[in-house]
Symmetry: C2
Subunit: 328 residues, 2 copies
């Protein structure tokens, strides 16, 4: 059961731990988008993504004895870092199972945050679940799922409470809120928070082209899967299908999804660099790409979009810089 | 006359206009520096630098009739954008005199913010003052000086009020506060704010090697000049000498200056990219470079450093990315 009460309880537990990220804007973004654009930069959150909120929410809700045995997570990187940092704060072990082809920065950071990283080969069909189940049984670890877990959804939803408050401060009462969407934990959490605190807003999931399972699921009314598991620069938001818990929430609260191209994400990263002085990762720039380049799919004079994370290697960032006019 | 009363008055006038930038940290920075590091990212301020504070402070203090005739500023870029945006907000003309070799992004942005940009050739000794005086007389413009102006110093000082408040929230009462220093408006303003609201902190000006006029002036007890006017990537903080108004304030309140190399600034930009998800310009990364690479010149367990701006071209940013380990 996921609801606003759980989100408010998570906000209480996160107080003094999660950062209240600002709500930013720039006249240059408004000009590109043709409407007022606000950006919620979760790349400035601890560990460089909103995932710290969910990780800390889950860890802080465990009873002390269970937590002391340690936690286990499957993640391509951002959830890994969020859980690793939360575990380090409590001084408990974290074992993270990551695909061997995850960005090097994310693997390195997860280790540097004190977690034990176990790599598996996703391209060759190795089952991360088999690897994880064995470790779980052996050590008594508690699994922290990346999105289909009420405590994690509640943690991500705290970002929505902040958006509601900050929109009120800006005097905005209606508009589309674009959320970078993988399995839907962030999207569902933010949507529930806005339903309660800023009901004039509508949440829109934004996904990479070819990995638009949520968009298609919202259209068909049932959970649809992606044909592929990888092969897109938006590594942070490539998930096989919407969650069992997150999908009904999105179905009830979210407007149609938006699918953005890799090139649009790279261009949005360039804009975030030049106009907001922010480092966005490709998947983290998906919602901004939607706001800037899919204006015809958006209603209203105002759009708020999340930058969900900024954990990007220099190599990929160079491709974003190359989209700018002043690039040599 | 510059004092804390003027800074508090500027803070009142800036309310709802200037952004309250967050105070950030990362365990990775602490590890490099060997002490706790906090970062005040003024690159997230409107126009990408703290200069908006001073520009808005000056414009908001003018009487309506004077302001309506328009304002004039000399600037290599950041002060230009700060004044241009403040003028645009009031709907009054801004004429900005910029060196022809200023970063293209800064010239373009100043124009895009609605200002009239007049370029002069600093390498060949063309006098910007001569150009400016003629325009001023002809059109009745009010000159907004970049640093040696009490209203501008007061505006920059509002950043110091925020640092004092945020340090208190973090439970820190003592430490060095490193400020990226050109003519000293930012440094003097922050120092006066901390003297009043957080007297356990000591402000340290950080300058580029070869342009350490403030550092040498603090040592000798009189205003010293730099041998060169340009030729360093830290374009934002290259000034000929400390200001007549700013120097006595710095002399009274600031600890010894720190001089950082171009390479250290580029490396600090890389760290800000990787660990803070922030875009810093070379001069804006000077204080962070001091915190990370000049630890032996810093006292205490905690250092707070400003990132004063983020207006950097993609070309220069690539040089910062090249300092990172994962660069190919």
């Amino acid at each position: 059961m996921s609801d606003i009460t759980m989100i408010r309880a998570a906000a209480d537990r996160l107080k003094g731990h999660a950062r209240r990220t600002p709500l930013l804007s720039s006249p240059f973004l408004d000009e590109i988008a043709g409407r007022r654009v606000f950006v919620k930069p979760e790349c400035l959150q601890h560990t460089g993504s909103f995932k710290y909120r969910g990780g800390r929410s889950a860890l802080s809700a465990l009873d002390g004895e269970t937590r002391a045995k340690g936690v286990l997570a499957y993640s391509s990187g951002n959830h890994a870092q969020g859980v690793a940092k939360a575990a380090a704060e409590y001084g408990v072990p974290a074992v993270i199972i990551m695909p061997a082809d995850a960005p090097k920065l994310k693997i390195d950071n997860t280790r540097a945050l004190g977690a034990e990283v176990v790599l598996y080969d996703r391209e060759n069909g190795e089952s991360r679940e088999a690897v994880g189940e064995a470790l779980k049984a052996e050590r008594g670890l508690t699994l922290v799922k990346p999105f289909d877990e009420p405590l994690v959804i509640a943690g991500q939803g705290t970002c929505g409470l902040e958006i509601a408050e900050q929109a009120r401060e800006e005097g905005i009462e209606t508009g589309d809120v674009l959320v970078c969407c993988g399995g839907g934990g962030f999207t569902a959490g933010v949507a529930m928070a806005l339903e309660a605190d800023a009901p004039g807003f509508r949440v829109r999931p934004v996904e990479p082209e070819g990995f638009d399972d949520v968009t298609r699921s919202l259209e068909s009314g049932q959970r649809e899967s992606n044909a592929r598991a990888s092969g897109n620069i938006c590594d942070a938001i490539l998930t096989p299908a919407p969650g069992e818990i997150t999908f009904p929430i999105m179905q009830r609260l979210c407007g149609p999804g938006i699918a953005v191209s890799e090139d649009e994400c790279l261009r949005a990263m360039g804009v975030a660099f030049q106009r907001l002085k922010l480092v966005a990762e490709p998947g983290g720039a998906a919602a901004l790409a939607g706001a800037l380049y899919h204006g015809d799919e958006i209603e209203g004079d105002t759009v708020i979009c999340t930058i969900s994370g900024g954990n990007v290697d220099a190599q990929v960032f160079r491709r974003a810089l190359a989209t700018l006019d002043d690039a040599p």
